[in-house]
């Protein structure tokens, strides 16, 4: 299948007609290859190779057990290396990704998952941010209401009424300013 592709791309050597045919065949095989990739045919066969991405996808969700704050995918440690090999081996043997993860959880507990499952005491972790946002919103609402009501109270309670004596004095001062 690769042969026509090679001929098509280095197509100067042969006669014109054969080059054209080679090009067509090359185009066809490229299309076929694209189709195979899109459909994901390599996964169907039992001898399908496990890609690095498949291993990485699982390894990045697992905590490296001998490190601090590193995933199995990111750690250069030997243990993480062995774990990646084991992930590949298990996928190769036909395990689904969730089965591979379940294996590690069985051995190391939920602790090994970088995203702790939302149950038990862990729920606090998942719900606390929403609780905090909601609490903040309610607080702001209460404060804004209080601030909006406050000016009325201030004007009626603290500003003294203007009496006739004050009016006289204001008029006198204004007259003096005019001079």
């Amino acid at each position: 299948m690769t042969e026509p592709v090679r001929r098509g791309t280095t197509g100067d050597s042969g006669p014109r007609a054969s080059v054209g045919r080679a090009r067509r065949r090359a185009g066809l095989s490229v299309a076929l290859l694209a189709l195979l990739v899109a459909v994901g045919v390599p996964r169907v066969g039992p001898a399908a190779a496990v890609s690095d991405e498949d291993v990485h996808a699982i390894a990045s969700q697992l905590r490296c057990v001998v490190c601090q704050n590193l995933s199995v995918a990111d750690s250069p440690s030997e243990m993480a290396h062995q774990m990646r090999d084991l992930i590949r081996e298990r996928l190769d043997a036909g395990d689904r990704p969730d089965q591979v993860k379940a294996y590690f959880v069985q051995r190391y507990g939920d602790w090994v998952l970088l995203a702790p499952p939302a149950r038990g005491l862990n729920l606090v972790l998942w719900l606390a941010p929403f609780g905090a946002v909601l609490g903040g919103f309610v607080l702001v609402l209460i404060l804004v209401r209080r601030w909006r009501r406050a000016p009325d109270i201030v004007t009626t309670a603290t500003v003294p009424a203007v009496g006739p004596a004050d009016r006289e004095r204001i008029a006198a001062e204004l007259e003096r300013l005019a001079d």
């Binding site: 057990v65 243990m79 062995q82 774990m83 051995r107 190391y108 507990g109 606090v124 606390a128």
Partner: protein, 166 residues
């Protein structure tokens, strides 16, 4: 919130509780440094002390090696097996370690780390105490002392004697 923090600060962030205690010990077959095959199945009916170590694990592994050897010598006639598994280690270094402490119990390398991962090991030394029925009863993290060896092994020996064995 404060309560959560208080709880969090009091627990050791490096202590990982093993979900394996109380569960059947994962089976394994290893080849010891002197070429013998040793499997967990072949030890059924005995109390097994499974120790994971490494020659680079200083000082904890160096401190516990004599205790393990002493425990092995004392309890071997009473149906206790000590099994050492060297993890993430180079064979010559492991052999030097074995010679240095004159270890006489079986020791085997775990080249691909499969047995150690199967036991949820996250550091060395770690020691699993497996009862006569093949159930993990205890996990020691860090060096095992002679007293700890005795304390974890003796009840299991007595226990199976009182139930008349499986």
């Amino acid at each position: 919130m404060v309560g959560l923090l208080a709880y969090g600060f009091r627990t050791d962030p490096r202590a990982v509780p093993s979900p394996l205690v109380g569960r059947p010990a994962p089976s394994f077959t290893l080849t010891t440094f002197d070429g013998k095959t040793v499997s967990l199945e072949s030890q059924r009916g005995k109390v097994v002390v499974l120790n994971f170590w490494a020659s680079w694990c200083y000082p904890a592994c160096y401190e516990e090696a004599p205790a393990l050897e002493a425990g092995w010598r004392q309890f071997q006639p009473k149906d206790v097996v000590v099994l050492g598994v060297a993890i993430q280690d180079k064979d010559p270094a492991s052999l030097e370690f074995i010679q240095r402490f004159g270890l006489t119990f079986p020791n085997a390398p775990d080249p691909a780390g499969k047995v150690s991962i199967d036991y949820g090991v996250y550091g060395v030394p770690e020691t699993f105490v497996i009862d006569r029925k093949g159930v993990i009863r205890r996990k020691h993290v860090g060096g095992v002392t002679e007293a700890a060896f005795r304390e974890s092994v003796e009840p299991l020996l007595a226990e199976s004697a009182s139930t008349g064995g499986a």
